[in-house]
């Protein structure tokens, strides 16, 4: 029987890049998962947690629990390393502030799976190919790499895609400078770091920048718009969707 996964839609994807969610679901279906999308989802609450107001994250955690609890899911898939790291690592601790919430959140947190990590388990070795040869650069989000420790799966998925040449940066800046609320609190600094990250990427000659976090992508693409270039910014889910075998 197909594994049943609940699909959490990160708020940036929901509101700014809805196609990414549709692509992610298609990729998951292709990989053989039965995908359940609970209604009335909101943001995971991470922005308030990260800014030092965990109390304000509570209603979001509560909603998350209400959306996903009791659906008998094998996993909850999150197409964002950042939201996944919050839900898996920090939400349970924050949920302790509300009686009864902790236990359910703790159970759910054990089921949280980042999209590329989950997809790789099924798509390893499956032939994928882009319609035309492309030089790509993969930007791993900080939360995905350093909090969740997910580094190999997205790279492996990209590398197994036919027609792709993946470029790398020696000694890269450790972060793209987005940082969620950081980008609104220190906008000049955030912009400048993003600009430097784009300079690094430009040196690789990549035409497509792939990431599994919409935050980084929105941040970088909003800066790239102000500079002459022809780089595209693509979520890993959309990249894989493009590379799925066409019927």
């Amino acid at each position: 029987m197909a594994e049943r996964v609940g699909f959490f839609v990160p708020c940036l994807i929901d509101n700014f890049e809805p196609d990414v969610a549709i692509h992610a679901i298609e990729v998951l279906k292709f990989a053989g998962f039965a995908v359940v999308v609970p209604k009335n989802q909101t943001c995971c609450g991470q922005p308030w947690f990260n800014v030092g107001l965990p109390k304000l994250a509570l209603p979001y955690i509560e909603r998350f629990v209400n959306c996903f609890d009791g659906l008998e899911l094998d996993a909850v898939v999150v197409p964002s390393g950042s939201c996944a790291s919050f839900l898996a690592k920090h939400a349970p601790e924050t949920a302790k502030r509300k009686p009864g919430l902790y236990k359910k959140m703790k159970e759910l947190s054990a089921k949280i799976r980042e999209f590329s990590d989950l997809a790789y388990g099924k798509l390893k070795g499956v032939p994928l190919a882009l319609p035309r040869p492309t030089r790509v650069f993969y930007h791993n989000s900080c939360h995905m790499g350093r909090e969740l420790g997910i580094i190999e799966p997205p790279l492996a998925l990209i590398d197994q895609t036919g027609g792709v040449k993946r470029e790398e940066i020696p000694l890269p800046l450790p972060c793209c400078g987005f940082g969620g609320a950081f980008s609104t609190l220190l906008p000049f600094l955030s912009y400048r770091i993003g600009e430097r990250k784009l300079e690094e990427i430009a040196k690789t000659g990549a035409e497509v920048v792939i990431s599994a976090d919409s935050g980084c992508l929105m941040h970088l693409s909003s800066i790239a718009k102000k500079r002459p270039n022809n780089v595209r910014f693509v979520h890993l889910a959309s990249f894989l969707y493009e590379a799925l075998p066409k019927p």
């Binding site: 839609v9 708020c11 994807i13 929901d14 509101n15 700014f16 890049e17 809805p18 969610a21 549709i22 999308v37 209604k39 009335n40 989802q41 909101t42 943001c43 922005p47 308030w48 947690f49 990260n50 800014v51 030092g52 107001l53 965990p54 304000l56 994250a57 209603p59 979001y60 909603r63 900080c142 939360h143 350093r146 909090e147 000694l171 450790p174 972060c175 400078g177 987005f178 940082g179 969620g180 609320a181 950081f182 980008s183 609104t184 609190l185 220190l186 906008p187 000049f188 600094l189 955030s190 912009y191 400048r192 770091i193 430097r196 929105m218 693409s221 909003s222 800066i223 718009k225 102000k226």
Partner: protein, 462 residues
């Protein structure tokens, strides 16, 4: 007037600063990678060092008691300073008692923290910084901008120009010429100083030993040549015994400079502390400084910050530090460690430093004692908002986040907000109301969200 810092207060970057930091930090990472490639057990060492530091902090009062006991039994003068004021005064009293005219000083972040130099200069003691980087910063009338490399913000050319001006001669733009000039200048100071001031890397509770690590040899001069040696030590810098000291020394230099050992490691033990003839008018004093550390220690959520061994690695790893430099923190400790330590020991005017981070976690990854710096930054941010009423700017910030949280938590309100934002962005004049709009175009929200597309527009339908 308040100083305006590039990228914090103004949109244009300081390109010279960025280039200087990039260059220095690239060197650091190369050296570090070369060394660590041959030490496969490094992560185990880090774990061991972390356990040592946390265990020590959990039992710090008893370690300190033992440390003091050993020293006092050996007849060593130990002075406890609760505050920066007490620490400054203690040193200045010693200087007066021994009729000190000139003091030579090795690099000590703690001395910056208690603002020792200014105080001593005011009381008529000439203080000469003897670490090359510190000397450069002192001659430029600046503050250190890095824990390990105080003049990291300066290029060689800038330093050569500074030396030409100060020493009134033509100093070529060559590192060896600059260093040679400093060597000759300082050698005379070492041999004529009345007092040597140093920090302490670690104090060993079991033996009373003090450990000092350096590369230049200036610290050794400061500790051994002048007739009075005063060492300042933060109360948290305790190693329980010699074995744990070995582990801490090992990770300190690996993380700080990518060296297996500093060029000079000096271990002074009681009763003489390297002074083989204490009766011939040679004196040693140890000043144990608290200055807010007890407060951090008593908070189990914040204690971890005190595990820091001041290697400076987190500064090199930090993407924020690399773009604004150390001076922008306006605090004696800068970078990620400054952002978590300062609000703990000196909250006034430093709590905003908790926001000088993207929470990318590179600092935690590089920390040789595995401090969860992002976790500590979150605690600082909570502290900032606990004091939300302290300033109108803080209050406004809090209200903005409160309002946003109310909008986002209801799917229907959030959907409405998305539409409003879409309309606002269509009107160019409204773009600038939003934080991002200052520097860039905000991405335009989709006309229909994913959930609306997936379920139809009636998102509330069960």
């Amino acid at each position: 007037m308040r100083t305006r810092f590039p990228l914090l207060d103004t949109p244009s970057p300081n390109l010279q600063l960025e280039a200087n930091l990039d260059n220095a930090i690239a060197h650091y990472f190369q050296k570090r990678a070369l060394t660590l490639a041959e030490i496969p057990e490094y992560q185990d060492l880090v774990q061991r060092a972390r356990n040592i530091r946390l265990d020590t902090l959990n039992d710090l009062p008893s370690h300190l008691k033992r440390f003091r006991g050993v020293l006092e039994n050996a007849g060593v003068r130990v002075i406890e300073a609760k505050s920066a004021e007490e620490a400054r005064r203690a040193v200045s009293d010693i200087a007066k008692r021994h009729d000190v005219k000139r003091a030579v000083k090795s690099k000590s972040m703690l001395s910056e923290e208690v603002r020792l130099n200014e105080f001593l200069e005011e009381s008529g003691v000439e203080v000469v910084e003897t670490d090359l980087g510190e000397l450069i910063v002192q001659l430029a009338k600046e503050k250190p901008s890095h824990i390990l490399t105080p003049c990291i913000h300066k290029s060689q050319r800038e330093i050569a120009e500074l030396f030409s001006r100060v020493f009134k001669r033509d100093v070529p733009d060559e590192e060896s010429a600059i260093a040679e000039l400093a060597r000759v200048f300082l050698r005379e100071k070492f041999f004529s100083a009345d007092m040597g001031l140093t920090g302490v890397n670690f104090g060993v509770a079991e033996t009373g030993t003090l450990a000092f690590v350096e590369n230049e040899g200036n610290l050794r001069y400061c500790a051994l040549l002048p007739r009075v040696h005063v060492a300042l030590m933060g109360i948290e810098r305790i190693a329980p015994d010699m074995e744990t000291l070995g582990t801490l020394l090992t990770v300190l230099t690996l993380a700080g400079t990518g060296q297996r050992a500093g060029a000079y490691t000096t271990l002074l033990s009681p009763p003489e502390f390297g002074r083989k003839a204490p009766k011939q008018g040679r004196f040693f004093y140890l000043i144990l400084v608290d200055n807010g550390r007890s407060g951090l220690l008593s908070d189990p959520k914040r204690r971890e910050t005190l595990a820091c061994i001041r290697c400076g690695a987190c500064l090199n790893a930090c993407v924020v530090y690399r773009h604004i430099g150390g001076h922008a923190y306006q605090a004696p400790y800068m970078g990620p460690i400054g952002a978590i330590l300062m609000p703990g020991i000196h909250p006034k005017g430093t709590e905003h430093l908790g926001f000088f981070s993207t929470l990318c976690g590179a600092c935690r990854e590089i920390c040789p004692v595995g401090i969860d710096i992002p976790g500590q930054l979150l605690a600082v941010r909570e502290q900032f908002f606990r004091h939300a009423t302290r300033s109108p700017a803080r209050g406004v910030r809090y209200l903005a986040f409160l309002l946003a949280s109310h909008i986002g938590r209801h799917p229907r309100v959030a959907s409405l907000a998305r539409r409003v934002l879409r309309l606002m962005l269509a009107a160019p004049c409204l773009k600038h109301v939003l934080g991002w709009g200052k520097v860039r175009d905000l991405p335009v929200p989709a006309s229909r969200s994913f959930q609306e597309r997936f379920w139809g527009d009636r998102t509330d339908a069960a």
